[in-house]
Every structure is written in structure tokens, then in C-alpha cells.
Symmetry: C2
Subunit: 195 residues, 2 copies
């Protein structure tokens, strides 16, 4: 069992509706030991992929993106969920993302100044379930002409289709913890990834 | 001149309406050398204040909060701009913040699980202008009974009243760059803070 899986077992809470609450160490209060390990792990797994930029989506993707970019010694860019008045007249690439957590659809944007043909991108996010957010970021990269070298996810809900779809499409997806079962009695089961 | 001031001069853009655009290295694309320095600097300036937790506000406060918490080896918490469905039934502290950038008012929330009487807080944010966001976070701390040991700001617009007000109220405010003048010809002037 790796550090993230241990933290999930110790501090995570499985709620009815297949919700995993990890807001005491991952996406509201953030434990820096865990986050440092996550950054190190993504950097290690993608170190030979020629990554020039980490791309994530505000807000809870930002902490793992910061630590990954820090370890890889490259910049990161966070796509925004609403067009900022301060993005000015510069062009932006946009994509629509459906949120199952909030039950709505939103637009994500990234400035065309910070994502382009020269970039080899590592997409980083905290959760992967149906894969809507990752597909939104893939679309931003496609529009920008950037190469996607990989996708790093902290926690994948393996019983939903997002991860499976991305692997079948040939993406190099690394999920640090894959949960294959979440039960109403509060238990969960990790996929054995053979580490 | 410190590293952040150098980066502002080199990469920042002064736009009409006293807008400073720093989205190529600070709050959209993020340069990790700058961010590492910011974290180190806040950690150094507040190292003897007994800080137990860094508090920031999503989204652009998160990168400096991550690096500061990393340096201080403590957790950070980011207040959220909308009530998350996944915050569940746990109590939250809330505060209203007016945004001059977007011309609206929004509610910020933090779970009462992650901010409380035991905490000595360092508030971190990327920008300080009128101080609305900082006041919102101060209100969250007050409601939680947490002690505020200091406020760390990356860029203060010194020609607006936020910083002055906070210093007059006795807060230990450290702004890494204070801009006293922004001119329509694109020039700006830093306050000499005697470093």
C-alpha cells in the first residue's frame, strides 16, 4: 500500500452515493507530506516523458500540480472555470465540462499565451471519475496544438469509466490510488496496481 | 530589488485602470522559481510566530499557500467560493466578500473541522488591494476562534487602502512587493521597504 492509499484509509470517509470525502488532507485542508509525496511520485513516473508544462484545473487540482511542477522544475498552468476579466484581450482556448458533483456544466479556459505547439503536457488532477474534467483539458491541449505526454491522477474511482476510457484510447494514465469498490458500510477496496 | 519585484518588472504588464497583469508567472501560468522564493520568504518572515496553519482563498492564493505550508511544514486550508456539495453536513464558517475585479459579491466558506481555537493562522494571498478578501478570511478566523498571527501578500497595491487599514489595525502584514504607483504609460513604482 502506498502513502496516499494509507492516508485514504486513515482519514478518508466513504459517504452514501459513492462519495469519497478527503477534505481533511487533500482538497480543503491539505497535508503537505501527502502532497509532497504526490508531486514526487508524478515526477518520477513521468520523468522521461519530456514534459515542459503541467496543466490542471482550478481549484483542487492546483496543490498536486504545484508540487509536481516543483519537482519537475517546470511551470504549471491552471485552467480557469470562468473567464477572468483580467485575461484581457488575449485569445483563450475553451472547453465545456459537465460536473457530476455539482450537477451543472461550466466552461474552462486557458490563455493561448500559455499553452501551445511547443508544449509537452502532463495533465494533473485530484480526482478522476467519469473523466469529464480530463477530457476538457485534453480538448484545450488539442485546440492549442500541445502534445499530451500523460495524465496524473491522485484518486481514480475505478468503478466509473473515466480511467478505462482514457487507457483504451492509449493515454499514459497514472493514478496513485484506484478505488474499485465503495460500499455503503463505509468500506472501500483499492485496485492492486502491483507496486 | 527582490526576486518578485524583478519578475514583475520583467514579465508584468500594467493595463489601464490600474490593473497589473501577472498571469504569465503568478496566477495563471505559474513559475515555480518565483513561487518557491515566495514560500521561503513568507516562512522566513513568520517563522517565529508559532503558525499552525496557512489559510488562503481559492484559486490564485493556493500556489503561494502550498509553498509556504511546505516550507513551514504545516497544513494549509483553502476557503471555497461556493458551498461544495461534498462539504456534507459538517458546519462551515462563512463570510461575504466583494470582488472589485469581477464586480460581484460572493460567499467564502471553510469547514469548522479545519479552522478552530487551537489554530494560529497565517493568511496568504496573491494580491491585496482594497483588502476585501483578507477581511473575509479574518472574519472566518474570528468566527472559528482562531488566532491570526500574520498576513502574507505577494503583491500589494499600495495606492489602495487595504494594506494601510490592516497595518493601522495592528496586523503583522508582510507584502513582498508593494506598488505605490501604476501609470497609464505602463510604468510602475515600488515602495522602498528597506530590505
Amino acid at each position: 500500500m502506498n502513502l496516499l492509499e494509507e492516508k485514504i484509509l486513515k482519514y478518508g470517509k466513504v459517504l452514501p452515493g459513492e462519495i469519497l470525502k478527503v477534505d481533511n488532507f487533500l482538497n480543503h485542508q491539505v497535508d503537505m507530506d501527502t502532497m509532497y509525496w504526490i508531486g514526487e511520485e508524478f515526477a518520477k513516473r513521468f520523468k522521461d516523458a519530456g514534459i515542459t508544462k503541467v496543466l490542471t484545473l482550478e481549484s483542487s487540482g492546483i496543490p498536486p500540480a504545484v508540487m509536481t511542477a516543483y519537482e519537475l522544475q517546470i511551470p504549471f498552468v491552471f485552467a480557469k472555470k470562468a473567464k477572468s476579466a483580467n485575461l484581457g484581450n488575449a485569445g483563450v482556448y475553451t472547453s465545456k465540462v459537465r460536473s457530476y458533483t455539482y450537477g451543472n456544466e461550466y466552461t474552462i479556459t486557458v490563455s493561448d499565451q500559455y499553452l501551445g505547439k511547443k508544449d509537452t503536457v502532463l495533465i494533473v488532477d485530484d480526482f478522476l471519475a467519469t473523466g469529464e474534467a480530463v477530457h476538457g483539458m485534453l480538448e484545450l491541449c488539442e485546440k492549442a496544438g500541445a502534445k499530451v505526454a500523460g495524465i496524473g491522477i491522485c484518486i481514480e474511482k475505478g468503478f466509473q469509466n473515466g480511467g478505462k476510457d482514457l487507457r483504451e484510447k492509449g493515454y499514459h494514465l497514472e493514478s496513485l490510488a484506484v478505488i474499485d469498490e465503495m460500499n455503503d458500510d463505509g468500506t472501500l477496496k483499492f485496485r492492486n496496481q502491483g507496486e
